[in-house]
C-alpha cells in the first residue's frame, strides 16, 4: 500500500490513540483507515482499545454514597 513509509502496522499502532480521540488530520486519518480496512491484526487491536476504554470506565465508576449528598446539602448557606 502507499502512504506509510515505515512498517504500516507500527505506524498504525503509533496513531491508535489520536485516531480514537479524533485528533488526526484528514490525511493521517485516511491513511489509518485504509490500513485498517486491509489489516485484521490492527483492526482487532483498535476494537480492543475501544472496548478497553469502556471496560476501565465501567470498572472505575463508584457511585456517591447517598449520605454524602445529604452532608453536602447541609453545607448550603442558610437564607436570611
Amino acid at each position: 500500500m502507499s502512504g506509510f513509509a515505515v512498517d504500516p502496522c507500527d505506524k498504525c499502532e503509533e496513531v491508535l490513540q489520536p485516531f480514537l480521540d479524533r485528533e488526526l488530520n484528514e490525511e493521517e486519518r485516511a491513511l489509518a483507515e485504509e490500513h485498517l480496512s486491509l489489516c485484521d491484526y490492527c483492526r482487532k487491536r483498535y476494537r480492543f482499545e475501544e472496548e478497553l476504554r469502556r471496560f476501565v470506565r465501567q470498572a472505575a465508576t463508584e457511585e456517591m454514597p447517598p449520605e454524602l449528598k445529604s452532608k453536602l446539602a447541609e453545607l448550603r448557606t442558610p437564607l436570611l
Binding site: L52, V56, L68
Partner: protein, 219 residues
C-alpha cells in the same frame, strides 16, 4: 434548565428582605433578594452535579474517605465563593478545579515533573500479552478482554502515577475536553495530551502485569 425547587425557603427570605426594604432603599432590598435567588440556584445546580464530581474525585484520591472529605471541603468552599463562578461557563469543571487545588493544598500530592522517559511498551502491548495467554488461536477481542477483571482495572488505574492518572480520570472517566482538563489541572493542553497518551500506555502495562500474573479473570 428548569429553575430549582426552592419556593418556601426563598419566599421567606424575600419576605424578610422586603421587611428590610421598608427601612433601606428599595433597590438594596431588590439586590439582596436577587442575590439570594442566584445563590440558591447556584447551590442547587452544584448539588445536582455532585454525583458526577464524586465519580471523578473518587479516582483522583486513593480512598473513599479521602474522596468524601475532599467533596465536603470542595462544596463548602464553592458555596462560600459562589460569586466568583462565571455563569454560562462549565460549573462541573469549576468544582473540580477547586477540588484539585484543595487536594494539592492538603499535601496529598507533591507537584513535580513526571517521568517522561520513553516507554518500551506500545499501544498493542496489552492485547498481545492477553492474546498470548488465551488458549484459543486468533481469538476475538471480546475473548481477549475477558482476561481482565474489574478489580484489576481499578488496581491498575491506582498504580498509574498521579500526574498521568489525573488526566486519564478527567478525560476518559469524567468526559472532560482537553481544554477543560488543562484548566482544571492548570497545565498546557499539549501536556494534557502527552500525559494522556503516556498514562494510557502505563495503565495498559499495569493491566498486563496483573492479568498475566493472576491467570486472567475468566479462570
Amino acid at each position: 434548565m428548569p429553575g430549582p425547587a426552592v419556593p418556601l425557603e426563598l419566599e421567606r427570605s424575600i419576605a424578610r428582605v422586603a421587611v428590610v426594604g421598608e427601612t433601606a432603599p428599595e433597590t438594596e432590598a431588590r439586590r439582596l433578594a436577587e442575590d439570594a435567588r442566584d445563590r440558591v440556584r447556584f447551590e442547587e445546580e452544584a448539588l445536582e452535579l455532585a454525583d458526577q464530581v464524586y465519580r471523578v474525585a473518587r479516582r483522583l484520591v486513593s480512598s473513599r474517605e479521602e474522596a468524601e472529605d475532599l467533596m465536603q471541603e470542595t462544596y463548602a468552599r464553592a458555596f462560600r465563593s459562589w460569586k466568583s463562578f462565571q455563569p454560562g461557563t462549565n460549573l462541573r469543571a469549576w468544582l473540580l478545579r477547586i477540588l484539585t487545588n484543595l487536594n494539592i493544598d492538603r499535601g496529598r500530592r507533591v507537584q513535580r515533573a513526571p517521568d517522561m522517559q520513553p516507554l518500551e511498551e506500545g499501544d498493542y502491548f496489552l492485547y498481545n500479552k492477553l492474546e498470548e495467554s488465551t488458549q484459543a488461536p486468533n481469538p476475538d477481542e471480546e475473548r481477549v478482554i475477558e482476561r481482565l477483571s474489574q478489580d484489576d482495572a481499578v488496581t491498575a488505574l491506582s498504580a498509574v502515577p498521579h500526574d498521568f492518572r489525573d488526566v486519564i480520570v478527567l478525560v476518559d472517566l469524567g468526559d472532560f475536553s482537553y481544554n477543560d482538563a488543562a484548566q482544571i489541572l492548570d497545565i498546557p493542553v499539549g501536556t494534557v495530551m502527552s500525559r494522556l497518551h503516556r498514562g494510557r500506555r502505563i495503565l495498559k502495562r499495569e493491566l498486563a502485569e496483573r492479568a498475566v500474573s493472576d491467570g486472567g479473570a475468566s479462570e
